[in-house]
């Protein structure tokens, strides 16, 4: 370390690492998540050392790095750096026999991944391409191919500086979360080169719209858009990545800032590519939900050979795999009447009392579980004592916790280190209990895994926290006794119940170990099934109803409005001109063809064409000499009869027919007021000639019901006709 520190001054000299011909593969492992999601546990122990299926998470990451041929790992520690260093010094990784050289880099100033990478850049230890990974990643993928692709690309294009590993995994339709509890990620990439073109993790699940840059559509001939790709947070980076972080000192988050920043920035032209893995596994533990999911994946062997019974890690004892995926250490003492259900792991030295039922859980080492205890979906770490008749449901119970008789843990409870819970206490769902009080100052910097050292009292060399007595009053539903100053957790209990913060209790279910409650799912799926109509309308510009049809109508009313009106008026004129040519003997089919091409060039819908055509037909009727309304009607009816084939061609659905009616209204009001008294008669003649269907007329009428009085003139005029239509249809129904 001292030597490394010495290099700090000479950082700027290492600008050209590419000169080194054969560089050993290096990796940067961030042993800090830079977020608060694992609080309160991370107040006392860094996240990377938390046991995942009884093995510290960092072991999985290091084992993977070792297996893919990485030779040098720089472990960046920030929070609890002493603990990480101490752990690594005692582990097998730092023994001389290890092939992997593990170096720790320590910095207490860093509050984000960006800061960490800047520190690493300053040390100038990275000489070539490196793997950037966080210390909570579990994978069994082979890196060889991705690395090869990355190198090949780099040779051709020095701007290809990063390769992201992605995996196919569907997010839930209902919650818009991945199975790892993270937000749904939308990615776009080039089908050929796999270049990443767009990346968006939707922080707000209620937002159903993503906006793409127009340039994206203009520049790329084709791209795939995916929401079913999971970001594995394993990146192969070129050294430029570090200098980019240096240049853009405001980059904090790897994805939110760095990746998005690069994609948006087209001056430098740096490119990011993706590598999709198929048969192998990779996932990052971001929150308690992913902790649960990844644990279950491990126990179901998806991470083979990183599974408990393979003894991959030096530290774990021999496990035996029984039926239904039950892993048991050889020295487990289990009562004959205890039942152990599927997908469960029981660590060595644990004892399980009579009639206890355990399922879908991980029990650590040296745990003592009493009689009639039910444990379902829990993660119980080492040296935990659970007395008789306790009920644990989807909870995380950390080292040294003591649950006295009859304790009930509701789903989503987290008990941090050495918490004691008194008899017959029920801990409410999603509570977090810790010996350390909740830090009162909610630092605006949410990227910290640990409490800010400056503002707190240092309790122990490795743990920094802020003492606040405020919490003693919070949630004190339980009898407070004199024996214990921290008695929120019952008689002879020790611990504070943390109140939830940031987003409140409503959002707790998203990241909890507990499954999403059924009521929540029902609520969400209700929302989900409500919504598609809206989104459908937003996505497809074709109108579902006439009201949504904007251009011709609304802008028509408002003459002052600009180009839109002009556009549609122009279009109408063009159609009219085309139509005029039809009068001079051009074949009807050709007219349709011409109008179609017009429609495409002006980006109009079928309904617009129908409206424009109808206008032309009406105008024809108007042009013919007439003296009375009767004559006008005769002329118009004749014209309509003559051109009904063309009109029908564009009347594919009720929508277009409604459009025609609306257009007709417009005509009567503005262009040819002569028609207004004839509205209902022409409407009925249109109906008779099968140009308009009764559905269209009825739905037009019903739509108009809510409109202004001024808009209702024609509805009223044709009231008789409409009522007749209604009766007719009712009769039809009766006939049926």
């Amino acid at each position: 370390m001292a030597q490394k520190r010495g290099q700090r001054g000479a950082s700027s000299s290492a600008d050209d690492p590419e000169v080194v011909a054969r560089v050993p593969l290096q990796a940067v492992l961030l042993a800090d998540s830079f977020n608060l999601k694992f609080r309160p546990i991370t107040l006392e122990r860094p996240k990377v050392l938390l046991p995942l299926v009884n093995v510290p998470m960092i072991e999985y990451t290091l084992a993977w790095l070792d297996s893919v041929g990485v030779e040098e790992v720089f472990v960046f520690c920030c929070a609890h750096s002493q603990q990480v260093k101490q752990y690594l010094n005692q582990s097998e990784w730092t023994k001389p026999a290890a092939r992997l050289s593990v170096t720790t880099i320590e910095s207490h100033d860093a509050i984000s991944a960006g800061d960490a990478l800047r520190v690493i850049y300053e040390k100038s230890v990275i000489r070539g391409d490196f793997v950037l990974i966080s210390g909570d990643t579990v994978s069994n993928m082979s890196l060889a191919q991705a690395l090869h692709e990355h190198k090949e690309r780099r040779k051709k294009d020095p701007l290809a500086i990063m390769t992201m590993v992605i995996k196919h995994s569907k997010p839930s339709n209902v919650t818009h979360q991945t199975r790892l509890g993270t937000d749904e990620v939308i990615m776009a990439f080039d089908p050929e080169t796999k270049e990443l073109l767009f990346y968006d993790d939707k922080a707000d699940p209620s937002q159903r719209i993503i906006s793409l840059d127009k340039i994206l559509l203009a520049d790329s001939p084709a791209f795939y858009m995916h929401n079913d790709k999971q970001d594995c947070y394993i990146d192969i980076c070129s050294p430029e990545v570090l200098s980019l972080f240096m240049d853009n000192f405001d980059y904090q988050h790897l994805r939110r800032h760095f990746v998005k920043g690069l994609l948006v920035d087209d001056i430098m032209g740096y490119k990011i590519f993706t590598h999709e893995i198929h048969s192998s596994y990779a996932a990052r533990i971001d929150n308690f939900r992913s902790y649960d999911t990844v644990s279950k994946d491990i126990m179901q062997s998806w991470t083979y050979p990183l599974v408990p019974n393979v003894r991959y890690f030096g530290c774990c004892s021999n496990m035996k795999l029984d039926r239904q995926g039950v892993f048991k250490a050889l020295d487990v003492v289990q009562s004959r009447s205890a039942q152990i259900g599927a997908v469960t792991l029981i660590g060595s030295g644990s004892t399980i009392g009579d009639h206890s039922v355990i399922s879908n859980s991980v029990i650590g080492q040296e745990c003592n579980i009493g009689r009639n205890v039910s444990v379902h979906g829990c993660y119980i770490w080492n040296n935990v004592i659970i007395e008789d008749d306790c009920k644990l449901n989807h909870a995380i119970v950390c080292d040294g916790v003591h649950l006295r008789t009859g304790v009930v843990l509701e789903p989503g409870v987290i008990l941090s280190f050495k918490v004691e819970v008194g008899q017959q206490i029920t801990i409410p769902a999603y509570s977090k209990v810790s010996l350390l009080p909740q830090p009162s100052i909610q630092d605006s910097d949410e990227e910290l895994e640990y409490a800010d050292a400056n503002s707190g009292v240092i309790e122990s060399p490795s743990i920094t926290s802020i003492i606040s007595t405020r919490n003693a009053e919070l949630n004190s539903d339980y009898s407070v006794t004199e024996n214990s100053g921290l008695s929120e957790v019952g008689i002879s209990g020790v611990g504070y119940i943390w109140c939830s913060y940031e987003g409140g209790n409503d959002e707790e279910w998203r990241h909890s170990v507990a499954p999403i409650p059924a009521s929540k799912l029902a609520e969400l799926s209700h929302d989900y099934y409500e919504d598609p109509d809206v989104s459908y309308q937003e996505v497809n510009s074709t109108p579902v109803s006439g009201e949504l049809r904007p251009d011709s109508e609304i802008t028509g009313d408002d003459d002052a409005d600009g180009t839109d009106y002009g556009d549609s008026a122009d279009f109408d004129k063009e159609v009219e001109a085309t139509f005029q040519r039809a009068l001079t003997g051009v074949n009807q089919e050709n007219v349709i063809l011409e109008i179609n091409s017009l429609r495409l060039s002006c980006n109009k819908s079928h309904a617009d064409c129908a409206g424009a055509l109808f206008l032309s037909v009406i105008k024809l009727g108007l042009e013919a000499p007439h003296s009375s309304n009767g004559e006008l009607y005769q002329n118009t009816a004749k014209e309509i009869n003559r051109w009904k084939d063309i009109l029908k061609h564009y009347l594919k659905s009720v929508d277009e027919e409604i459009e025609i009616i609306l257009k007709f209204e417009e005509i009567c009001l503005e262009i040819a007021t002569e028609f207004s008294p004839l509205f209902s008669t022409i409407l009925s003649s249109l109906y008779e000639k099968d140009i308009l269907s009764e559905d269209a007329i009825l739905s037009w009428a019903s739509e108009k019901e809510g409109a202004d009085e001024s808009d209702k003139i024609f509805v009223k005029q044709s009231e008789r006709f409409i009522t007749w239509l209604k009766e007719a249809s009712e009769e039809d129904d009766e006939d049926d």
Binding site: D66, S67, P96, A97, R99, N140, K167, H168, S169, K170, S172, V174, T175, Q177, R179, G181, D228, Q230, H278, S279, S280, Y281, R289, D292, T293, K296, D297, Q300, S301, W302, T303, Y304, P305, V307, N309, V310, R311, Y312, N318, L321, Q324, G325, A342, V343, S359, N360, H376, G377, H394, A514, P515, I516, L521
Partner: protein, 414 residues
Amino acid sequence: MPDLQALVTDFVLKLKRRKIEGSQATAKQTAELLRQVVSQQRMPYTNQASVLIDAVRAVGEQLIAANPIELAVGNIVRRVLHIIREENLSSTTAAMEGLGLTAGSDDDEGEHEDRPGLSAAAVAAAARSTLRAPSLQTLLEDIPESAVAPHPSSSGGDSEGKSKSADRSSRSKKLKHDVIEAINELIQDIDTCHELISEQAVEHIHQNEVILTLGRSRTVKEFLCAAKEKKRSFRVFVAEGAPRYQGHVLAKELVGKGIQTTVITDSAVFAMISRVNMVIVGAHAIMANGGVIAPVGINMVALAAQRHAVPFVVVAGSHKLCPLYPHNPEVLLNEFRCPSDLLDFGEFSDCMDYGSLGGSPLLHVVNPAFDYVQPKLVSLFITDTGGHNPSYVYRLISDYYTADDLVVQRNSTN
């Protein structure tokens, strides 16, 4: 000896990561590693055999623990231990024979003094054991370690003459040398087992026969190819061997050699078996009772073969011969591999969304690697030493292994 330690760690890691595939490769690498262990072991003046045994056992223990399912590792460790014991016995016997011949000569006083402690029965047993006496007798009269080992130690005290120590060091070197030689032979045996097995192919495969096999075994491939080279014309049905579909690879190789090949699904085996003259499969391990641990699916083939009275032949090198019984607690019969061989994770990821599906996994995917085939379903084993019945396997085992090592192995793991 950091070098050796590094080698061992490296190999252990490879085993743990399941980087070494196939019994033969594992067996060979284990033997080579143990040869290193023996050659780097410093030999004391006394108790040489037990020192060697301890060293090999210490390493062997780590290797076995690293991948308990790969039984070939344990087999080779036990065979090396057996080799050391045998070489020690034979050198002792040789010394005694030398003693008998040169009893009158003066140089060998020390030796003369050493020997009386050794009982005549032990000498006889040792002599017989080197000649591979009937196994039951060997087992009964087998000289315990303690009976053999102490003698050099007891002699260590009395003997002081330079000539004697020189003699002893030459003997010690000789023991080490002999052991290394024997391990070299073992490695060679492992290397050549395919040829030795293939030589017997024409005796078993006859003209116009139809052979069925499942998955891919290198031994089977060589066996079939050897028969083809000797101008036998026959047809092969290859069951593809889900989920790894190694059968496809085998089919390609066989067609490359000009053998008529038909690929069928595993589930079609029963339908096809009536047209088959013989089933030839490879094995993962042959247990002491004549049962076979083989790639998954083979038990089904064996049952089908029995139903239609089709001979079920297992070809395997002698390094796959395991001295343990399948009911021994330390035998791990199976291993569960990654479920991604069976189905695509991405497609099924919504079935494993524990958050929205109530928290407990509803979908379990089980991918066992091996099957156990009972001895009564096996018609014949073809090993590099010839064809054997399942009921004869225990006899083979007594040739290759010392009973002590089976027991000792278990003790040492505790």
